[in-house]
Symmetry: C2
DNA sequence: CGGCGCACTGTTAACGCAAACATTCCCGGG
DNA sequence: CCCGGGAATGTTTGCGTTAACAGTGCGCCG
């Protein structure tokens, strides 16, 4: 900065003014300064600015298994929304859902230069196990922290209810469930809602089979379902597992949707291209990302107290070709 | 920091020593300081440290369409590798592959507090259109910047050759190509390599059909392929488009692999669960991520000049059930 | 019993920037 | 012709941290 000032024949303060686009600099001077900046390849140090201002223009984000469809789409949406507001996003991936790892990740991030923290699916960690710095704005999605911090999430409960209702409405007497991992909050919510919807319809919930969200686990778990002739309808906790299930059904020679109807959750890109195209519950990840950022920045910028806010983003049934009425039993 | 010092009855310098784990502090003093830190919820300001040290412990990453499988897996790998080295990752998503947007993204990031920059698939931007700050270490993957900066990439050429060779080896006289977008470097590389492999085998390359990487585009483009009875083997530029193609083939009533064999590229999670399970070229995204970080940090830490480095990560054919010899032509 | 050295802790200055305040200069009005 | 006032620019100071240097006090040796 001093070099630029010297080259332009002005003071450092004037350089600062030009760098920030302050209006009170004579056009000629401003041009000389800008030329000098260019010539010297100068750009202001954000570290120094951050030190001066006490703000960083960066939000932290903690997620688990980033490459998972839901996570990566949330990440993309958050990054986009943050960018639109002039913030950048610093990402930390939690190695395992163990509380220790989550705590470590949060600690690492919160000691970074961040203005706020977005926690996505902090699986088994609970608010108590985490030493969040006082006064660090936090917003959460799909984690056990819902209720302790402002939260945004898809309507898991409504989605599961819709899925089950769709299958029951087609005439299926029972709906099986291919559940997600027990340590996942959304998995638990979907499972509970499935159970409840079944109960309300007067059906008894069969034993769930469980996967870990991955397509491969859906296949493994799906083989049990495929081997059971009583299964005519399955609600899978996400589309990837649904894909594995569909493969298991193909292999077992059971027709979809003729013998077995399948509904997924998420509406990932590939769902429409599966064979048969998958009926599923669409989540609006982009909207969730935008709202997460919005809620966070309201705390950061305006110091709003949003502790009790819990926004639920609606989901939508996308009907494709993997569901149909059950074959009429003779 | 002053408050902590006061509470512990020491000087700020001693607090700093304790914070950094320097050994020359009496255990009793250190404990008092640590207690004071805890009590006051103090943690050192990274902005001030960065200002002092001139390093940030953060690397920037520019990617396009983060939620795409290849991108998100690379992001995950980079984040993990960076974390293992004590660095965090700041992410910027490029809205469109237009040079202007890429430049804007790079500009935004490079004015951030980053020690280095990872550019993934900066599609149409060329090195000239980008005003990279002098002396900012850069490493690239799959972009036109390969050759201008140290690079790491999968063996696109070898992968495409392997895919085509596999199909020719099964007895197919010709291999069609479902190509990626023209503005993508890896798409171009795969296409060129496909063309060359065909030429070497004495076959003439048919017209390519083109998608935009998405599964839906694979379906759209795939319908043309599915309608053409001369098509017996297709090399799709990625697995998502392959999935769309497979659906188009199913709809057209063509058997896979009986009538048409399909090979994909990437080996995404779902490939094994498609129907039929997809033969594909596996990319080791994790290895690419690790190497990107490694190359970048060697520049950052040791100021190594790696300009001419170009590491190629091998790929591997994963044979599943979507390929077979052509139906013998009577 | 005096001094020397070591272990520990404190003081000072600088990193780059920008707010607050100070200064300079020029213009127009009285 | 002088002075008030505003626009343009300069000077000072402090943000939180740590390296470098400067004490301080204690034990041990001669």
């Amino acid at each position: 900065m001093m070099d630029v000032a010297a080259l332009a024949g002005v003071s450092a303060q004037t350089v600062s003014r030009v760098a920030r686009g302050e209006a009170t600099v004579r056009p000629g001077t401003a041009r000389r300064v800008r030329d000098a900046m260019e010539q010297l390849g100068y750009s202001p140090s954000r570290a120094a600015r951050a030190l001066r201002y006490g703000q960083f223009g960066t939000v932290g984000m903690v997620a688990h298994r980033l490459a998972r469809t839901g996570e990566s789409r949330t990440v993309e949406a958050v990054v986009e929304a943050a960018q639109a507001e002039g913030y950048t996003v610093t990402l930390v991936d939690v190695a395992s859902p163990e509380p220790d790892d989550v705590s470590a990740a949060v600690a690492r991030l919160s000691h970074q230069d961040i203005d706020g923290l977005i926690i996505v699916r902090a699986e088994t960690a609970t608010p108590d196990t985490l030493a969040l710095p006082a006064h660090l704005p936090v917003v959460v999605s799909d984690s056990r922290f819902v209720g302790h911090h402002p939260a945004v999430g898809a309507d898991q409960t409504g989605g599961a209810r819709t899925a089950v209702g769709h299958l029951l409405g087609l005439g299926h007497a029972c709906v099986h469930h291919l559940a997600g991992p027990e340590d996942s909050t959304p998995a638990r919510q979907r499972e509970e809602s499935w159970r409840k919807a079944l109960a309300e319809a007067g059906a008894t919930a069969p034993e769930v089979v469980r996967g870990d969200w991955s397509a491969a686990s859906g296949y493994d778990a799906g083989r049990a379902l495929a081997a059971d002739p009583r299964v005519t309808a399955v609600f899978a906790a996400n589309d990837e597992m649904a894909a594995g299930l569909i493969r298991a059904l193909h292999e077992a020679g059971r027709a979809i949707p003729g013998d077995v109807s399948v509904v997924g959750f998420d509406d990932i890109d590939l769902s429409a291209q599966l064979w048969p195209p998958l009926t599923t519950i669409e989540q609006d990840f982009a909207e969730i990302g935008r709202r997460l950022v919005n809620l966070l920045l309201r705390q950061v910028r305006d110091a709003e107290d949003l502790a009790d806010t819990h926004e639920v983003v609606p989901v939508r049934l996308v009907e494709r070709s993997s569901t149909a009425p059950p074959r009429s039993t003779p």
